[in-house]
């Protein structure tokens, strides 16, 4: 038992050695090309966290000037998209990027890592951040904007970006909490009756999820003496009690499962996601559950692969039930936002299915699916909001006649809706096709059948919204508004996101290539470990101190 203290003492001395070694290079007068290059990378890795933070501060400082606030907010969102795009480019050409904050070498310091998966998701975060912000500028009431929407929004983006970049588990926990607390406040901002009711469930269950996560972190630390993801990947296979590791993996599954809203832990999502303003629902629907999915993908490819037969079979069943219960829940609903909320759950099932099958093709599919889903689901919420602006309702029975009044909006609904259901040639078709093919190759026929069935019911559900809101004549006692003011701010992001969906659908190659490279990285963590620890995997394993 005393090995841990001994190891820590040794590690401390090594850390000090490492710092001593670094001093000459930092105090040198000349700076070689490599250092400059590293500096630039470092900035790029930190920017997705810093830009939202600075934006939030700027917004808070200009509280009394709403126009200035909006300008800062927009500028910050554009900056985030630019920075994430640049980061993806660097990761694509230069491989996995990492930065040791404060120059404490891994696994002692705080590490930020960006592999292709993180970088791709960050770009999507940037895109959604900008699109939904434009929508919010055109749709959010002045009271909510005054009470801090912009600052919270950017802090939420910071939390999401941080979670995608975190290189150790405790850091991941902290970013989860950042996005969680901001999402709490965004959820109740405005203090509607419905918002308070939804938030009670959301807050309590998420507090429990965080505690599960933290307990799992503690137990994992007790087993291995490290929390750095790359270091854990080296040490976990050598833990003498694989059963304990699997037990800890189950705790992580529950914690991330609640965040990702998988069966049977999803019930908080449909209770809460329809209550805040559409802009808030849209960004939640797009990003929050996907952070949970990302965390699942990360830990179940990098860390917990010692008992795939058990853990990933469990994931498979979770995926099947998530897909089916989600769509069945959606069928019973009549509020546009509630239908869409249940579909989030069902779609999460497809992503988890990709992870559960655990073949290169399946992981590729899961990543493709996450990207496609974020774009499509956010867009559907935005279309729902635009329909509400015109028809004055979210209840299907109170809507109607939108196709006659706004054929353009009807087409803009059809693109994400049919993509969600998986019709060619839209992005959802490729996403589902890859997952289904991976399922057939892995001979998981039951899961494939469930996925096809869920896709079919999704189509029925989308047809229901189409029939009720767009096709049927407007109920006699209701009238359509012209959408003024600022309908353009509502439509522009919808058009952009629909264009992204179409582009992925018609020209899927680039995203497939990205997802493929990402899947390769995930299934062979050697590169990740080497990049972070700066040592080949055999050496890293040799450094380990025996008890």
């Amino acid at each position: 038992m005393s090995w841990l203290g001994c190891r820590n003492a040794l590690l401390t001395s090594k850390r000090i050695d490492a710092r001593n070694h670094q001093q000459p290079s930092t105090s040198a007068f000349f700076v070689d090309v490599d250092t400059v290059k590293t500096e630039r990378m470092t900035h790029l890795l930190v920017l997705p966290i810093l830009i939202p933070l600075i934006t939030a501060i700027a917004v808070l400082l200009s509280r009394r000037a709403p126009r200035l606030q909006r300008a800062w907010s927009l500028l910050g969102a554009v900056g985030l998209l630019g920075a994430t795009g640049a980061l993806l480019a660097v990761v694509w050409t230069g491989g996995i990027q990492h930065v040791q904050l404060g120059q404490w070498p891994a696994p002692f310091g705080i590490t930020l890592v960006a592999d292709v998966l993180s970088a791709v998701l960050l770009v999507v975060v940037g895109l959604m951040g900008l699109a939904v912000l434009v929508y919010a500028l055109g749709s959010l009431d002045a009271a909510r904007e005054r009470s801090g929407f912009h600052a919270l929004y950017h802090l939420l983006l910071m939390g999401v970006a941080g979670a995608f970049l975190a290189g150790d588990l405790f850091n991941l926990y902290v970013w989860f909490e950042v996005l969680l607390i901001t999402s709490f406040v965004l959820l109740v901002l405005g203090n509607d009756r419905a918002q308070v009711k939804g938030a009670v469930t959301y807050v309590l269950i998420n507090l429990v999820a965080s505690l599960c996560f933290l307990a799992a972190i503690g137990l994992l630390y007790g087993l291995t003496g490290t929390l750095n993801l790359a270091d854990l990947a080296v040490r976990l296979p050598e833990v003498e009690a694989p059963g304990l590791v699997t037990a800890v993996a189950m705790l992580f599954l529950i914690a991330f499962g609640i965040k990702a809203a998988v069966f049977p832990l999803f019930f908080w999502l449909p209770a809460a996601y329809h209550t805040p303003p559409v802009a808030v629902s849209a960004i939640f629907a797009g990003l929050l559950t996907k952070v949970g999915v990302y965390a699942l993908i990360r830990v179940f490819t990098l860390l917990f692969t010692q008992d795939v037969g058990y853990t990933h079979t469990l994931l498979l069943w979770v995926a099947v039930f998530t897909m089916i219960t989600g769509v069945l829940g959606a069928v019973a609903q009549t509020d546009v936002r509630k239908i869409l909320s249940f579909h989030i759950v069902s779609q999460i099932g497809y992503m988890v299915l990709g992870l559960a099958l655990f073949t290169p093709l399946a992981i590729l599919g899961a990543i493709f699916y996450v990207v496609h889903h974020i774009v499509v689901k956010t867009n559907l919420f935005l279309v729902g909001g635009a329909a509400h602006r015109l028809g004055g309702a979210f209840e299907l029975k109170n809507l109607g006649g939108l196709y006659r009044a706004r054929p353009g909006l009807a087409v803009l609904f059809l693109i994400p809706a049919l993509s969600l259901a998986g019709l060619p040639p839209l992005s959802g078709f490729w996403a589902k096709l890859i997952i289904l093919r991976a399922g057939v190759e892995a001979e998981a026929y039951l899961a494939v059948a469930a996925a096809v069935l869920a896709g079919l019911i999704t189509l029925i559900s989308m047809t229901k919204i189409w029939n009720e809101a767009f096709w049927k004549p407007l109920p006699a006692d209701r009238s359509l508004s012209d959408g003024a003011p600022s309908m353009a701010a509502l439509i522009t992001p919808i058009v952009v996101l629909a264009a992204v969906t179409l582009t992925i659908g018609l020209y899927a190659e680039p995203l497939v290539v990205l997802a493929e490279r990402s899947a390769t990285e995930l299934l062979d963590p050697t590169g990740y470990v080497q990049a972070v620890l700066d040592t080949p995997i055999e050496e890293a394993s040799a450094i380990r101190i025996r008890p």
């Binding site: 203290g5 003492a9 969680l180 009756r193 419905a194 807050v203 505690l211 307990a215 972190i217 309702a393």
Partner: protein, 123 residues
């Protein structure tokens, strides 16, 4: 010491879970608080409680002379306590708002209440 702390963590977890399955939302929140304390203890024990020497490097040395207590779990717990405090404070305010709005903190009753006030039509 480890065994004692482990038992205490178990006891706190059991009490926390018991409170979580109550119908009163306030009790559920108390359950969360107990659970969070149990988790902090788990973090603490995970770092091993072998020695009480503080991890301070003496003057003139680059590393502690003898084995010292593990400082990392304490840093983790400190962070967790701060975050937990913020979350619980928010949850209390939320519950007080819910009790003012719905005039109940019973989970079952709350679930039965409509989301909109009865006299307001869905907008």
């Amino acid at each position: 010491m480890d065994v004692l702390l482990a038992l205490l963590a178990g006891l706190l977890t059991a009490a926390g879970v018991y409170l979580l399955i109550q119908r009163s939302l306030l009790r559920m929140l108390f359950g969360v608080i107990l659970l969070s304390n149990a988790v902090n203890l788990i973090l603490f024990v995970a770092g091993r409680t072998l020695r009480a020497t503080p991890p301070i490097v003496p003057d003139g040395l680059m590393a502690p002379a003898a084995a010292v207590a593990n400082p990392l779990p304490q840093a983790l717990i400190l962070t967790a306590i701060v975050i937990g405090f913020g979350l619980v404070a928010f949850a209390f305010v939320l519950l007080s708002r819910a009790s003012a709005t719905f005039e109940t903190l019973d989970a079952d009753e709350l679930a039965r209440l409509p989301e909109r006030a009865p006299d307001i039509e869905e907008n």
